[in-house]
């Protein structure tokens, strides 16, 4: 299992052909208290860079762009009742959606842990 990062602070945790997408701890800290999450639909096809979800803090709405191309196979419905999971547990319980990846090779262009740490330093 590897985790890759976008410049816009999404992460994608890859397990075989499945990617789990969320926003990083850094991103949730920048946004502040999350109060609403608009999830994609299961079955929705997303291209890399497409708007996949919207995360709303008290102050503003932020679009979440898909880090990879594929089909949405699951969404984190727990966020509907408890959007603050993104703040309390961005890497685990606060995941946003799972994607069946069309092309895992696409992920090579994303940042690894070390590069992302540098990006947010």
């Amino acid at each position: 299992m590897t985790t890759k990062f976008t410049e816009d602070h999404e992460y994608i945790r890859v397990d075989g052909k499945t990617g789990t997408v969320g926003i990083t701890a850094y991103a949730q800290d920048q946004l502040g208290d999350i109060v609403f999450v608009e999830l994609p639909s299961v079955g929705q096809k997303l291209k890399k860079g497409d708007e996949a979800a919207v995360v709303e803090s008290v102050k503003a709405a932020s679009e979440i762009y898909s880090p990879a191309t594929g089909t949405v196979i699951e969404v984190n419905v727990a966020l509907t009742g408890e959007p603050g999971l993104i703040n309390s547990s961005p890497d685990a319980d606060g995941w946003i959606y799972k994607l069946s990846l069309d092309n895992t090779g696409e992920l090579d262009a994303l940042m690894d842990d070390a590069a992302y740490a540098k990006h947010t330093a």
Binding site: A27, Q30, V35, S57
Partner: protein
């Protein structure tokens, strides 16, 4: 998530305190100010509703208008200085009692709001002929130049925005301040007076913009940090940033200038008829009186309403539609209510759609969401109308 450039921003006198406390500094009205501290907007919001929240509002525009030649007769001097500002606003300033503060609006010739502001009469007769005037940060230069022009050589406008202006808001706020500055608890709601404290003078008003009881305190710049820290050291107090200040005032249904009020919006459209004083109405002697009095009689095209919004917050600029899907207005400010745990908004709609209970829709990112007109405020005001001591 990009942050606007921080160049040319002014800093407030308490800037170092905010940084020490971990405040996240953002640009606001030309100033660098904390949008939140590490505890976050929701925790800060709830703390203010339950205890006492300390706000730095030094970016705003406190000022004093002083009559140049006083007669020595307190009432006459008050009336003389009141007569200089009344032609600009719709409030009865002449009729203020000593120590009283009035919320009013600065109007253009078409009756549109140039700003909303507080105007107060000093309690001490020795200060008669002075008005304490507090305007908004983003409009202060224009407001002050307008007031100074109207005052001509009869009065002098002294700006006090080099000072600290602190607000302590919440059910425990007055008790906290009274323990530091004895006598503050005796102030009635919307009154102010001067207090001596630790070798300086403080101007303490029982007022605020959160819907809670509380005070606003003007302090000399060299004493601002001392006062901030003295208040903050009380365990009932936490510092609160601009984020929660906005969500608190939104829940209280209070308009934010530049959003819910602008040069096209009249006080009547904004639901602020209480701010058009009876004497001024009868005399019809304020800017835009013809339009405003017509609207006051019920002939108007739009009204500010509160909306309960289902689902995602509807932010400023979102279209408001009727049940049939026709666009009838726009959200002027909206967001998430931490007290109610749901989205709320203020917006303008035609009077026929402004009745509480009316089912409307808002368009958020191209999708329709249900909304319902509700009476304001969203969260009841808890002002203490009478002195507690």
């Amino acid at each position: 998530m990009s942050e606007p450039a921080a160049e040319n921003l002014k800093t407030v006198v308490l800037n170092d305190e905010h940084i020490k406390l971990g405040g996240r500094m953002v640009p606001f009205s030309g100033y660098s100010l904390p949008v939140q501290y590490p505890s976050g907007i929701i925790a800060e919001h709830k703390w203010t509703r339950e205890h006492a929240g300390l706000f730095d509002v030094s970016h705003m525009g406190p000022s004093f208008l002083l009559l140049n030649e006083k007669s020595g007769d307190a009432q006459r001097d008050h009336e003389a200085v009141a007569a200089l500002v009344e032609p600009l606003i719709c409030g009865d300033i002449k009729g203020l009692k000593p120590g009283q503060i009035r919320y009013t609006l600065l109007l253009n010739e078409s009756g549109g709001a140039l700003d909303d502001l507080m105007v107060a009469r000093p309690l001490d007769p020795a200060w008669a002929g002075t008005l304490y005037v507090i305007v908004n940060a983003g409009t202060k230069e224009g407001d002050w130049s307008r007031i100074a022009t109207a005052a001509g050589n009869h009065a002098t406008l002294n700006r006090a925005d080099n000072c600290g202006l602190l607000a302590l808001q919440g059910p425990e706020a007055v008790a906290v301040v009274d323990s530091l500055i004895p006598g503050v608890a005796n102030l009635g709601f919307m009154t102010y007076r001067n207090f001596d404290w630790a070798g300086t003078h403080l101007v303490v008003s029982r007022s605020g913009y959160t819907g809670e009881d509380g005070v606003e305190i003007l302090v000399e710049p060299e004493f601002a940090a001392k006062l901030w820290n003295a208040i903050r050291s009380d365990e009932r107090v936490k510092p609160i940033g601009l984020g929660a200040r906005d969500s608190l005032r939104l829940e209280a249904g209070l308009p934010l200038y530049g959003h819910d009020l602008d040069e096209t919006v009249s006080p009547t459209e904004a639901g602020l008829n209480f701010a058009i004083s009876k004497r001024r109405r009868e005399a019809a002697d304020f800017p835009g009186a013809a339009r405003i009095l017509k609207e006051f009689g019920g002939d108007l095209g739009r009204l500010r309403v509160g909306l309960f919004v289902d689902g995602a917050p509807a932010r400023e600029g979102a279209d408001i539609l009727d049940a049939a899907g026709t666009t009838i207005g726009r959200v002027s400010s909206g967001g998430f209510s931490p007290s109610l745990n749901r989205a709320i908004a203020l917006g303008f709609v035609p009077p026929a759609s402004a009745v509480p209970g009316t089912k409307l829709q808002v368009s958020v990112r191209g999708r329709m969401q249900a909304a319902e007109v509700t009476a304001l405020p969203f969260v009841p005001h808890r002002y203490v109308r009478k002195a507690t001591a």
